[in-house]
Each structure stands twice: as C-alpha cells, then as structure tokens.
C-alpha cells in the first residue's frame, strides 16, 4: 500500500501537509517559525501585527482550564515596522508563512500590508474576530458582513497575495459572513478564532484569574463549535477553509476536513501534546487514511455533507 498523500493546494499555496500554526502561538520570531517547520507543520502564521506596537494586557494572559485555554493576550506585538525587520526574508523558513494583520480602522490594515509587502509572506490573514480586545475584531464591529466587505476590499487593492479572513465562532450566521468575505475577494476562510469570551474566577482570591477578567476560549471546548462553523461555511462558499479550534489528534484533523476544511490549524494542541504535535498529527492521519483507503486529503474534504 502506498503512503497517503498529505499535500494540499490552499488557494495556490502548496503545503506538504494540512497542519497550520495559527496566529498567537509561537509566532513571535523567525527562529520559532523555523522550529515549528522542523516539527512538521505545513504552514505557519505570525502573531497578529498592528501598525503601532502594543504591550497587550497584564499577566495572567493565558490560563488553562479543564477543556482548553482561556486567553486575553490583548494583541501584544512590536508593530509593523519591527515585524517587517524580525521576519525579513521569511522565505528562509522552509514552509509558507502567513502574516496576520489587525487594525482598528480599515486604513490600518492597508498600512500594515504595505509595511510587510517586501517580506515574502505567502498570504495575509485578517482576524476580524477577536472577542476580547477593545478596538479590534468583534468589539470594533468587524464581525458584520458590511465591515468585512469593506476591510477585505481595501486589502484586496493593496496586495496580490492570497487573503484569508478569520471568523469568530460567536457569529450565528457564519455562512453569510464567509460569503461576504468571498464576495469581497478573500481567497480562504480561517474558521475560527476563540469563543466567548469566558471567565474563570479563583474563589480564594475572589477575582477573575485573567488580568483582563475575560478571555477567548480555545481547545477542546471549542472543537464541536469550530466543526459546525466549518460545516456551515463549506455550504456557503467555494474558497477553501482552514479549520481551527481544538484539534489535537489526527482524528480531529480528519473530522475537520470531512466537515469541509482543506487545511487545519493547531494551536492549543501544542500545549496538550508538545511542539511536535504537527508531526504526530500527520502520522496519525497517514495511518488512519491507509487503514480507511484514502489516498489524499482532497478525497476527504467535506464528505460528511454527502
């Protein structure tokens, strides 16, 4: 029996396998992206970058709970200029690297895209969906079809790179929103960002643990909801989906692909299984695919809809 082929074509970008490092995990430096590549990821996303530097929230910013992580990092990042410097010649990293870009106004997105234009990123991701940072994402009204169209159209004019739009699982009609992004020129949908927000209170301290009090939920808790979002989006758009949320095994990855994902994000899973989780997931996918007579990822995309 031949080994199953894990390669995918993600709107023109070739990935050796469908696993993608999502934004906010390890994406602070080129050195870490190289390590992620060495550990088998198919592609990687840098930590979201705004035009100006941001310190983010005070600690604790990330806290594990029984069913995943709660985080309110607050989009800390060194700003567009410093990011362009840190990730210069990004092609040194052996896998495609996606630049995640945030802004409070449409203009901001374009300014960051411009700053990063010489870096050699493989795609631009727009997370219009953070549930817990004032001025950004949902808290800035970016989760509506109208503002999604506006931002995507503006970025579309500023770059030839594929544009990924990252959506929130909190949106009830997520299919419509994905459609709005597609109509405005997005080349892929990343689904999803964190859920909630949620809160964990330490009862002895009588205080929320996160210094920002609330934070987005990722990991196991998010997985069934992320799967449903991908399932819904798959019925609404033709562009590929990067299914993200709670994936930590090859089975989870295949479940997401059957729901309609072409690639899959693995973030919180790194905490659960270590940085080599990308390689582990690929091995598990290969084994399962061999046993179940699948030769390629393409054969599995969206088949739960049949």
């Amino acid at each position: 029996m031949t080994t199953p082929n894990l390669t995918i074509d993600l709107c023109g970008i070739k990935l050796s396998n469908p696993t993608v490092l999502p934004s906010g995990f390890l994406g602070t430096s080129k050195s870490l992206l190289k390590r992620v590549a060495d550990n088998g990821a198919g592609a990687a996303t840098i930590k979201s970058v705004s035009f100006e530097p941001r310190e983010g929230h005070k600690n604790p910013t990330v806290i594990p709970f029984e069913a995943g992580l709660l985080n309110a990092v607050g989009y800390s990042n060194p700003g567009a200029e410093e990011t362009a410097r840190e990730f210069a010649n990004i092609k040194d990293v052996s896998i495609p690297v996606i630049a995640s870009i945030i802004g409070t106004k449409t203009d901001d997105f374009v300014r960051v895209v411009d700053k990063l234009s010489a870096n050699g990123f493989s795609a631009i991701e727009l997370p219009l969906s953070c549930p817990h940072t004032p001025g950004f994402g949902l808290l800035a009204g970016q989760g509506t079809p109208e503002s999604t169209k506006e931002i995507v159209s503006a970025v579309r004019k500023a770059t030839e790179l594929p544009i990924f739009v990252k959506l929130s699982p909190n949106i009830p009609e997520i299919g419509n929103l994905a459609k709005a992004a597609e109509d405005a020129g997005a080349n892929a949908i990343t689904a999803v960002n964190t859920l909630g927000p949620g809160m964990i209170i330490n009862i002895e301290a009588r205080k929320p643990v996160l210094s920002y009090r609330v934070g987005g939920v990722s990991g196991q808790a998010l997985r069934p909801i992320a799967t449903r979002c991908v399932y819904d989006i798959f019925e609404s758009v033709k562009i590929p989906i990067i299914g993200t949320g709670g994936i930590s095994t090859g089975r989870h990855a295949i479940e997401m692909i059957m729901a309609g994902a072409t690639a899959i994000g693995v973030g919180t899973g790194i905490y659960e299984r270590g940085i080599d989780i990308f390689r582990k997931i690929c091995l598990e996918m290969e084994t399962w695919m061999s046993e179940n007579n699948f030769n390629s990822i393409d054969e599995m995309i969206g088949i739960a809809h049949e």
Partner: protein, 274 residues
C-alpha cells in the same frame, strides 16, 4: 502539561525572611514537587503575574526570594504573614543533578550565582551536597549579598569589595579550575555574567548549565514571548546546557520586550527594572 498547578492556587504566606536590604523571602506551607532550576508563576490578584525561582524547598514548605525592583515586587514586599499569593507551576526544565559526568562522585562541580540569580541556585546547592562543589556568590555590594550565611563553603565576591573578594566571580574561575578541574559549572545571574561563564566552559571543555531569564506571559510554551533563538525559556528552559546555548546567538545579546520587540539585553534590563 504540567504536573503541578495549571491554574494559580492561593497560598498563605507563612513566614517572611529579610535576606538583604532589598530582598525578602516568602515562605509557604506546601510540599511543592520542585526540581532545582524550575520556576513558578506568582500571581497578585488583579495586579499581575511574574516568574520566580524556588529558593527554599522542603517536605512541607517552600519559599521564594524576591528582590524589590518595580511595582509588583514592591507590592509583594508590603505583604504580611497570613496574606495570600497565587502560585502556579512549577514549570520548565531544571538542572541535571547530579550531572552524568559527576554521578560517581569523582568529578567536581562549580555553582556561580550573581545577584538574586542565587535564588535559582540554593535548592540545587542543597541537592548537590554529596558531591564536591565550589560555590561562588557575586553581588554589587555587601548590602545586596544573598544567602551568605546559608552555606559553609561559599566564596563571596563584591564589585566594590565591601565584603569578600573584590571583583566578579568569573575572574576567579581560571585559578579555581586549575585546582579543581571542574566537570560542570552551573550558573544563574545577569546574562552578561552567565555568558562569560559559558565562554569559559567552552574554552576548557567543561559542561555548562545556565538558567536564563526572559519576560514571560503564558509560562507554558505556547505564546512565544520568552523566545531565545527558537527555544522557549519557559518550557525548553529556563536551564539550558552548553549544547543548547551554543546554538542560541541571542544568549547574552537579545531579549523580547512585552510587546514582542527584540532589543539588546541592556535595553531589556532597563525596561525590566521598572
């Protein structure tokens, strides 16, 4: 995943020890499953959370030693016995004890602490008691010296000569090594000092283990804030051996600020101070 506490657990301060003019130790009645070199995150509810080494460790207690440096440590220094701090961890990888090359008791080890970096080394020193060890402790001046009376055989250095030998502990290494022929040197302190120790070890083919400090957020190896050349100090470290250090060109040179900006250690140190 950590085997300790994933979420902060509130613990009552059982005792406070004044270690020096600007440094206090906070003791807790709890058996922490701690390996020397690991760290814990200490939470002041509603304020902030920071990493600290464990400087005292016993069957039913542990303690941390804190230099008053900025707002967070100032608030800690104002706390009293009976008040509570949130503790999660321990996290990361510690020192190898005894190191393979001194397992048979025949080899010699040297422990070099600088400033409050000594706090990361005390439990290590206690676990190494059965081996032949040299302990070097450096400080800027007498008043900031830590743990000078905690061990019998300790050689003290001060920058100003106000106590012990005047100079850096690293200055004495060449002679000490001739005499003792070290198999391993453990170090924690200002990175410039550790970097010197590492270079010395490299030259003499001695195994080196250094405990690094970087600003931390998650503490669990996912956010990338504490990166040092592809290594996460919180999870892959904070202790790194010669081999790891040799591939870390940021070691002794660069660190990330809270925003993620990569700056020289000098600039980092100035920011870190407040």
């Amino acid at each position: 995943m950590s085997e300790g506490f994933e979420q902060p657990v509130m613990m009552k301060i059982d005792k406070i020890i004044n270690e020096s003019d600007d440094t206090k130790s906070f003791m807790f009645r709890h058996n922490l499953d701690y390996k020397p070199g690991q760290f814990i995150m200490v939470w002041l509810p509603g304020i902030d959370e920071k990493p600290f080494a464990v400087s005292y460790s016993g069957d039913d207690f542990f303690g941390i030693t804190v230099l008053e440096r900025g707002n967070f440590t100032k608030l800690m220094h104002n706390m009293s016995v009976g008040e509570q701090l949130g503790i999660r961890g321990p996290f990361g990888h510690g020192f190898s004890i005894p190191a393979d090359n001194i397992k048979d008791g025949s080899g010699n080890a040297c422990v070099i602490g600088g400033g409050c970096g000594m706090a990361s080394l005390t439990v290590l020193i206690e676990r190494l008691q059965d081996n032949n060890i040299t302990i070097l402790n450096g400080a800027t001046t007498k008043a900031t010296l830590l743990f000078k009376n905690r061990y019998k055989d300790i050689t003290i250095f001060t920058d100003d000569g106000s106590e012990g030998i005047k100079g850096y502990p690293t200055d004495a290494l060449e002679d000490l090594h001739k005499e003792n022929s070290y198999n391993i040197i453990y170090t924690c302190g200002p990175e410039i000092m550790m970097s010197k120790v590492y270079e010395f070890c490299k030259k003499h083919n001695i195994q080196c283990e250094a405990s690094l400090e970087r600003y931390m957020k998650c503490g669990i190896g996912i956010c990338g804030q504490c990166v040092c050349d592809g290594q996460m100090v919180c999870k892959d470290g904070p202790v790194f051996d010669s081999q790891a250090l040799s591939s870390m060109s940021d070691f002794g040179n660069y660190s990330l600020l809270k925003s993620g900006q990569r700056v020289s250690l000098k600039e980092y140190g100035e920011w870190r101070g407040c």
